[in-house]
């Protein structure tokens, strides 16, 4: 079960992900990112402070948009991941391919790099 709240502040869209992103619930994350792209957002922050689990289905969602982000000049940064969730990204080296920050302020700095 996952809840995703959206917030728009200046030119940044934040998706606040709360709950567990697994094979059952990853569709919600997929839809939220897909909508953000369709709406033309160029700066997307993923607030992962409330995300307490992610499986390959969730990783797959993030991975599947990396090409689109590059093509459409979209920046996405994840932040606030707890150590368990961050470790899942690290197991496959995805922390090197996806921008991940510790805090919201650090994420905003990365966003504007």
């Amino acid at each position: 079960m996952v809840n995703i709240d959206t917030k728009i502040e200046a030119d940044i869209l934040t998706l606040k992900v709360v709950g567990e992103v697994d094979a059952s619930s990853s569709i919600n994350l997929d839809n939220a990112i897909n909508n953000a792209i369709k709406e033309g957002h160029k700066k997307i922050l993923i607030d992962g402070e409330g995300m307490n689990y992610i499986s390959s289905a969730g990783l797959g969602v993030f991975m599947s948009y990396l090409q689109d982000f590059e093509k459409h000049n979209i920046k996405m940064v994840l932040y606030g991941l707890n150590e368990k969730v961050l470790n899942v990204f690290k197991i496959l080296g995805l922390d090197q391919l996806i921008s991940i920050a510790e805090s919201e302020s650090e994420a905003k700095v990365l966003m504007n790099d």
Partner: protein
């Protein structure tokens, strides 16, 4: 002693699998990160079985056992689905860079299992598929 758990074949039941595993594994003082990784690996195999072997048929059941032998945690994921030919113990998975280029959403679950576990075995006998995952403590 083996701990046992059963779920109907539906991804909505994966959270119950994780709850069961977290409860069992909390006895072994693995630490949050390692415990979560083991739960993840079993969750990935269960999701794979539910979707690709049992085709989300709610009349089918996935059975799970967890046991400890000689400092080795052994997880068994047992189903009676049709995809006995798919052997995750030898499946290497695609290249991550290629996956990203194709924009596909699946494909890294079994890679995670192989990275997390020390040994994977697949056995098909008497109409059952048994996937055994081994982790040295």
């Amino acid at each position: 002693m083996k701990h046992r758990f059963k779920i109907p074949c539906g991804t909505q039941h994966l959270k119950d699998v994780r709850r069961f595993l977290n409860k069992v594994l909390s006895n072994y003082n693995l630490g949050d990160i390692d415990q979560n990784a083991l739960v993840l690996a079993v969750d990935e195999v269960c999701a794979n079985v539910i979707i690709h072997s049992c085709y989300l048929n709610p009349d089918m059941v996935v059975e799970l056992t967890v046991g400890l032998e000689d400092r080795m945690l052994i997880f068994e994921i047992i189903d009676q689905g049709g995809a006995s030919g798919f052997d995750i113990s030898s499946y290497r998975g695609p290249d991550i860079d290629k996956l990203i280029k194709t924009g596909k959403k699946g494909g890294v679950g079994i890679m995670l299992v192989r990275k997390i576990m020390d040994k994977i075995e697949m056995v098909s006998q008497n109409g059952k598929n048994i996937c055994r995952l081994y982790k040295n403590l």
